[in-house]
């Protein structure tokens, strides 16, 4: 039943998750479950205005309410500003002079219980001078539009202009040139666990912060700076995390800062648990984007040039928008060969909640536009969807060779063509042609898409992951990593890698979650970087520990270290395996033979990072990924032609090239979930409705998310390419299918009905009107 790949003892198979038992029995502790003695509860006071000057904040009534222990406002933070990088530090922990989006935090209270803290927030009096706002990038770019940030003229947040090859010449030489505009929705991250934090100061010089953060070394660095502490005195502890998907659970929230400040003021632990309402109204969302794409092709459908203009709503603060706009552009030259490429990115500040990274970050927008447009081109030219993808795809480079794109992105392994072939075969693509597509009110159609995603993302500064393997004297092993499992399964992968390398059992490994007092610093869980980079660190740390133990064994056996191997918890002489010793005995000998060793293996990720250079965002060149995954997907939809309701059928196949599936089950759930929750959901269901900065559907009833009944029972096909820069050949498996799902669904709707939905989600009303318009046109 379950597939097995490679010749490993543990890897390449279905590996049960190391944290699954705690999760399935309710024992796993998430941030909101954590209790410490003497705890106070916090609550954030928020602005009702989307854009207003703060004239005065009066906290006196709140302070007098019985049970209130402390109140904080932005002024307590002494002008501290933070952001993604030096030039983009434009946000305060709590707004001081101006609020720039609705429900931005302006003050916070710590009290004996949550009700009292909330009541006290109601007693805080804030005088505002409401200001006119801008609520779309098109309003923001208008001459004389109100400014979100006075020092940012034209409300320009991020701007890139890249030009590779000669796009104009290529368009002139093309047989067909098409220009289309596509739109992607303002989407919630979708985690069920709202952000939560407990902070306390064991003494005035030391801070402990326990929070739901996928990238715990973000608060480590930011809180040290904000509270003027050496990093050595900042202790970040990571509980179990209820998903992340980029954004808020990487970054800071007003509650994070307020918890630390109020704990400092009161000398007591302070806990904030964000409500889902606050999460849906103030947490970071996916950028809504308007993508205008112009593509030229030859008569037989070969891509000659693409020009993309991406206009994005960045929201109130810069956050990660510089990275978003880079990612939206960089992978336009993957997974198809593209000799000429031009890109203009325009990201504007607005008075909406800030936009940021989200699963499929950046690529999801532009690959959606490009892949749907490729189907439009295929239709015009009379070429099959699968054929046009296959022949434009980058071929798998020969071992030792690297494919370079026109914007200097480097690919050492590419299973794109194999993914396309396998999906086409699995859904019997050829046989579908000319088949009956309608039954009563229902029309059926299938769409095909191909996508790519960067794994092992490398940004401009600290990129290395590090690991410590501590072999205890009874043979059990502690694994210390700075990497954070937010649900993707990295704790299991890291444990499995260590066990595989050491030659012992998965049960022998006890992985520690991040505690910055003990675990090595790590960039974080974003950009599908954990398995690729933290996995390298795991291999290197385990190899280091193993080397030390093998030296001991070699001495015992009287042979050279190269003659000794460890396998199945046994150390032996390779040439005569009968000369062996149990793992526990080896470790005991090593630790107790006078003077006694302490076996600690250290390792960090080295591969890829300096190999091809880092990406240059302003020029648009270079690698953001250590390696790149490839995905093909075919999706069937059922369209109710009377009501416009779209339903995905179980006829949904995804082939994913993650290089090598370290844990086959985890790859499957990641691919299915990535396709479904953030892909299909964006294509068909999810969107925040806004009115002048106000979120109109800020709860999980009105903000429609697909549930089990809507879930296609997607089949996952593993495609192996063994990437030279990934651990055991692995690449990413979390985000590729988020990029292949939307174009496959939109093409399927077209296949069923003949209409192109260019602005997703294809909610019933939109589909209904598109079908009506088409019928009216046909009747004329």
């Amino acid at each position: 039943m379950d597939e097995t790949f490679g010749n490993y003892r543990i890897l390449g198979k279905a590996i049960p998750r190391v944290d699954a038992k705690a999760k399935v029995t309710g024992q796993a502790k998430y941030a909101a479950d954590i209790e410490v003695a003497n705890l106070l509860w916090g609550f954030v006071k928020r602005s009702p205005y989307a854009h207003a000057r703060i004239l005065n904040i009066d906290t006196s009534k709140a302070e007098k309410l019985p049970g209130v222990k402390a109140v904080t406002t932005g002024k307590d933070f002494g002008g501290f500003k933070w952001g993604w990088s030096g030039p983009t530090r434009d946000e305060e922990p709590l707004a001081v002079e101006k609020v720039r989006y609705q429900y931005e935090g302006v003050a916070a209270v710590a009290a004996v219980d949550e009700d009292t803290a909330q009541e006290a927030c109601d007693l805080i009096e804030v005088d505002y001078e409401p200001l006119p706002g801008v609520f779309t990038p098109f309003e923001a770019m208008e001459e004389g539009a109100p400014l979100v940030h006075e020092d940012r003229p034209g409300n320009m947040c991020v701007e890139y202009h890249w030009d590779f090859g000669d796009v104009e010449k290529a368009f002139a030489e093309s047989y067909l040139v098409r220009e289309d505009t596509f739109q992607t929705p303002r989407q919630a991250k979708g985690y069920l666990e709202p952000p939560a934090v407990v902070a306390y100061w064991p003494d005035p010089d030391h801070l402990v912060y326990i929070g739901a953060k996928g990238s715990p070394y973000f608060p480590y660095r930011i809180l040290a700076k904000c509270f003027n502490l050496p990093l050595s005195n900042v202790r970040i502890i990571t509980p179990i995390i209820g998903s992340d998907f980029g954004g808020t659970k990487n970054d800071m929230t007003p509650a994070d800062y307020s918890a630390v400040m109020l704990a400092k003021k009161t000398g007591r632990p302070v806990k904030f648990v964000t409500s889902q309402f606050d999460a849906l109204t103030t947490d970071l969302r996916r950028h809504p984007m308007w993508i205008t794409i112009k593509t030229g092709v030859t008569k037989d459908g070969m891509l000659k040039a693409t020009y993309v203009k991406a206009v994005a709503d960045g929201g109130a603060y810069t956050r990660m928008s510089p990275l978003t706009m880079f990612l939206t552009g960089t992978c336009m030259t993957l997974p198809y060969k593209l000799p000429n490429f031009k890109y203009d990115a325009l990201n504007y500040f607005t008075n909406n909640p800030s936009s940021a990274a989200m699963r499929g970050h950046g690529l999801y927008h532009s690959r959606f536009a490009a892949d749907v447009q490729l189907d439009m081109i295929a239709e015009e030219l009379g070429i099959d969807s699968v054929e046009i993808r296959f022949k434009n795809s980058i071929e798998n480079p020969k071992p030792g060779e690297v494919y370079e794109t026109v914007n200097e992105v480097h690919v050492a392994s590419c299973g794109m063509q194999e993914c396309i072939e396998k999906v086409a075969e699995a859904v019997n693509w050829k046989a579908r042609k000319g088949k009956k597509k309608a039954e009563g009110d229902k029309a059926y159609g299938m769409g095909f898409a191909a996508a790519t995603y960067n794994g092992g993302t490398k940004l401009s500064a600290h990129n290395a992951c590090a690991a410590i393997v501590r072999v205890c004297e009874d043979g059990s092993v502690n694994y210390l990593t700075g990497a954070t499992d937010v649900g993707q399964g990295s704790d299991t992968i890291m444990s499995a890698i260590v066990a595989e390398v050491l030659g012992i059992a998965l049960e022998d490994i006890d992985i520690k979650r991040v505690d910055s007092s003990f675990t090595p610093v790590d960039p974080g869980s974003y950009g599908s970087r954990v398995t690729v980079l933290a996995g390298q660190a795991a291999i290197n740390a385990a190899e280091d520990a193993k080397k030390q133990l093998i030296e001991v064994a070699a001495q015992q056996f009287g042979v050279k270290p190269g003659d000794v191997e460890i396998k199945d918890r046994k150390v032996f002489v390779k040439s005569s395996p009968e000369r062996n010793m149990a793992w526990e005995r080896l470790v005991r000998v090593a630790c107790y033979e006078t003077p006694g060793k302490v076996i600690i293996g250290r390792g960090y990720s080295k591969q890829g990072i300096s190999l091809l250079g880092l990406a240059d965002f302003s020029k648009g060149v270079g690698d953001i990924g250590t390696n790149y995954s490839f995905t093909a997907q075919a999706s069937e939809v059922e369209v109710d032609v009377e009501t416009g309701v779209i339903k995905c059928t179980d006829n949904n196949v995804i082939a994913h090239d993650c290089g090598f599936p370290l844990n086959t089950q985890a790859v499957e759930t990641q691919v299915q979930g990535g396709s479904y929750h953030q892909g299909i959901s964006a294509a068909v269901y999810e969107e925040f409705k806004m009115d002048s900065g106000q979120t109109l559907n800020p709860n999980l009833i009105d903000y429609k998310r697909p549930r089990a009944y809507e879930a296609p029972m997607a089949q996952v096909i593993h495609v192996l390419t063994s990437d030279p820069y990934g651990p055991f050949g692995a690449k990413e498996a979390s985000e590729g299918s988020t990029c292949s799902a939307p174009p496959s669904i939109v093409s399927a709707i077209h296949d069923a009905t003949g209409v192109w939905i260019k602005d997703i989600p294809a909610q019933p009303e939109k589909v209904f009107w598109a079908l009506k318009k088409k019928r009216e046109k046909e009747q004329k």
Binding site: K23, V24, T25, S243, T669, G673, Y676, A714
Partner: protein, 161 residues
């Protein structure tokens, strides 16, 4: 105004309790804050996500949608009471073995919804399995393996038939 404390008698995971609670206390808050049973998760407090699902007299109920007093005289089972000591319930075991669980925040609710279904309907169709967890949002795993795991557990509980 906050009301006076009321008496509440119920059993939770087989253990009888006699408590005094505020009338406005939600069952989920009683479980999490008073009884320290934090397995039921709070995702929304709108009865929309299902992460707080428990079983009351065998039925799947979202514990944020009922007052603690509404459980008076009833038998409440939470995720902490599903396993038989160290022996996991077949639904729990199937979810582990089949790799259904990712971040795990929805998992307790999924187990409780599936437990109620299989107690009433030992041989559900796929549509019935989907319907039983329709009130449980998952954020990351994509439902496929949860649905399959419930089917595997159902078969196991029927003695492999």
């Amino acid at each position: 105004m906050k009301g006076e404390m009321k008496e509440l008698k119920l059993t939770v995971n087989g253990k009888p309790y006699e408590l005094k609670v505020k009338p406005e206390t939600l069952l989920v808050d009683l479980l999490r804050q008073e009884l320290k049973l934090t397995g039921a998760k709070v995702g929304c407090l709108d009865s929309a996500c299902g992460a707080c699902t428990v079983n009351i007299d065998g039925k799947a109920v979202r514990s944020c949608s009922v007052l603690a007093l509404q459980a008076n005289g009833r038998e409440v089972i939470t995720i902490e009471g599903v396993a038989d000591g160290d022996k996991l319930h077949p639904i729990q075991q199937a979810m582990i073995d089949h790799g259904a669980i990712e971040c795990g925040f929805c998992t307790p609710g999924m187990v409780m919804s599936a437990r109620a279904l299989l107690a009433e309907n030992p041989d559900p169709t796929r549509e019935e399995v989907k319907e039983s967890i329709q009130g449980n949002l998952c954020a990351d795993a994509g439902y496929v393996k949860y649905i399959e795991a419930i089917e595997i557990a159902a078969k196991e509980m029927r003695g492999g038939q």
